[in-house]
């Protein structure tokens, strides 16, 4: 669950003002859910989803259930904690340590912060083999085969299960829940537990990184726009790149 990056916002005295109700399913997590559904449709098994967050998180969980997940877990927060990836990783690892699973599927990053840390942290805390930035998943002889987008090429990695993977949105086009899925989602189980009721040391949940204020991105100087005869404007801009911008 992340704030909608398309929602209007304002920065006032370093504070970010935006509609706190405009929360959406993180695009990378939508891809993680989609791929999990595709794999279980093909090979059997169930998809369960988990979200840590305040009351609003239940809507995000419903969305994943409407896509086809079988069950949801809502780990409730008050919403006023200043958690970071490391706090969420601690909570997730604690919650998951007693659960059974073959694959833990994460988004490669949160769309609003682009941190990209939680997946690797949970893998390490649970001591699981893992791969990040997956653009394709398959199952072969009980291994999860990950196609990972690396710096210069794609790596094919075999992970024994249980394992963890973080997903890119380049993996698939997440399905839009249909009416039937939405109706069915209302009857699907969602278990709730409050972070406060978990056996977690408050100090371990302390964020290691805290956003102290927000600033606008420095604006680029206004540019020049050329309309007219293609030949003329094309050569005009080429000349300006040479004489004015000095980049040729």
């Amino acid at each position: 669950m992340v704030p909608d990056v398309y929602a209007p916002f304002q920065i006032k005295d370093g504070e970010l003002l935006m509609d706190g109700d405009r929360m959406v399913l993180n695009a990378y997590d939508a891809s993680a859910v989609e791929e999990a559904l595709v794999l279980t449709e093909k090979y059997g098994g169930d998809v369960e989803v988990i979200c840590i967050g305040a009351a609003k998180a239940s809507e995000t969980i419903r969305k994943a259930l409407a896509m086809g997940a079988a069950k949801g877990y809502h780990v409730q927060t008050n919403g006023d904690e200043s958690y970071d990836s490391s706090s969420y990783a601690q909570i997730l690892a604690d919650f998951l340590k007693s659960k059974e699973y073959d694959v833990l599927s994460f988004g490669k990053q949160s769309q609003d912060t682009d941190s990209g840390l939680t997946g690797g942290m949970v893998a390490q805390l649970l001591n699981l083999p893992y791969a990040t930035n997956a653009v394709g998943l398959e199952i072969e002889d009980g291994n999860l085969i990950v196609k990972r987008q690396g710096d210069t090429g794609q790596e094919m990695i075999a992970l024994p299960t249980p394992c963890l993977v973080t997903c890119s949105n380049d993996m698939n086009e997440p399905r839009i829940p249909n009416l039937k899925g939405i109706m069915a989602s209302k009857r699907k189980p969602v278990e709730s537990i409050a972070v406060a009721d978990m056996d977690l040391d408050a100090a371990a949940l302390e964020a290691v990184s805290k956003v102290t204020s927000y600033s606008p991105v420095p604006a680029r100087a206004a540019g020049q726009k050329f309309e007219g005869e293609p030949e003329e404007i094309a050569s005009k801009v080429a000349q300006l790149l040479d004489t004015e911008a000095n980049v040729l």
Binding site: Q111, D112, Q154, N169, Y214, V217, G223, F226, I233, S235
Partner: protein
């Protein structure tokens, strides 16, 4: 004395320029604050890069070599970084943000119980804490972040700092790290190398980026020709990497790469925030788009409103003339 350790990444047998940018910045923080600036190279042939790394001011360079580091694998890199941390006990470890460092940063932070902040565009260290700036909300705003921990791990977007030579004679310390299958836990079966262009987009001085407007071979050829005249790397929007028109490693934006060349030419790209997030720090931006209202024009220094099939041929001709 606190140590600032920069991880110098090697990719395809070459030092990633972005990690030397980070090293240059760490050197200036170290000089200002009286810290020690050191570096670590983890690669099959790590020792062959020490001469180049000491040009950027590292007083001590740790090397970890061996077959285990011939290809990126998170298990081996993670183990090496943990060992190096034990040996060096740095206050801060700085990385250039690449897919390889993103692959280990979270796990390393959890393992070391370290403070961590990823993908910053600037940072400073006061001896205890890191203060950093990082783009958020698809790079529409900047977050000012304070980070605590020991050590603190920081990854930095490419192009955030200039290269700054500062030659020293470094002490080179080689560390032995053995990697076995328990460390790897996963099997790297194969690497499918990117096809076509070999210019590293993070290091390219110029990039020609193609979007959905580039519909056919004719348009692709025009893109290639423009790139070759400018000695530019070719990049692409998600629309074209998704449909397989260009290799996935060429994607520029929030999901793809963040680049900051001297010259970025966006051809047939609408300028979605997720694309702009990856290129808005380019020095000079040119946009070619037939829709005068396309949002890409809001970030362009030079906007050409027109059909790319009609605009590119004379544009290429004129640049050729200027270049001669």
């Amino acid at each position: 004395m606190s140590t600032l350790l920069t991880y110098v990444a090697i990719s395809d047998g070459k030092i990633k320029r972005s990690s030397l940018e980070v090293l240059s910045h760490c050197k200036s923080i170290a000089d200002a604050g009286g810290f020690s600036c050191e570096a670590v190279i983890i690669d099959e042939n790590a020792s062959t890069f020490t001469d180049d790394v000491q040009k950027y001011g590292a007083s001590k360079i740790y090397t970890v070599s061996g077959d285990a580091f011939s290809q990126h694998q998170n298990g081996s890199l993670l183990k090496a970084l943990v060992k190096v941390n034990e040996a060096v006990n740095p206050a801060l470890v700085a990385f250039a943000s690449t897919e390889s460092t993103k692959d280990v940063l979270g796990a390393l932070a959890a393992q070391l119980k370290a403070g961590v902040v990823a993908d910053v565009s600037s940072f400073n260290f006061d001896g205890n804490n890191v203060s950093a700036q990082r783009p958020m909300m698809a790079a529409k705003i900047m977050g000012n972040v304070d980070v605590t921990g020991n050590p603190i791990l920081v990854s930095v977007r490419s192009g955030s700092y200039d290269l700054n030579e500062n030659p020293t004679t470094a002490e080179v310390v080689s560390l032995d790290v053995s990697v076995d299958s328990d460390d790897l836990r996963a099997t790297l079966r194969e690497i499918i190398s990117a096809t076509g262009d070999t210019i590293d987009l993070n290091e390219a001085d110029a990039i020609v980026a193609a979007g959905r407007g580039v519909k056919d071979e004719e348009a692709k050829n025009l893109i290639s020709e423009l790139a070759s005249v400018l000695n530019a790397g070719i990049g692409a929007s998600r629309a074209l990497t998704e449909s397989g028109v260009y290799d996935p490693s060429l994607q520029i934006g929030q999901t793809g790469k963040v680049v900051s060349p001297q010259l970025y030419i966006a051809v047939g790209i609408s300028g979605a925030i997720q694309h702009v997030a990856g290129m808005a720090n380019s020095k000079v931006i040119v946009a070619i788009n037939k829709d005068a209202d396309a949002p890409i024009f809001e970030v362009a220094d030079y906007g050409i409103v027109g059909d790319l099939y009609k605009v590119l041929p004379p544009f290429i001709e004129e640049i050729k003339k200027i270049k001669n």
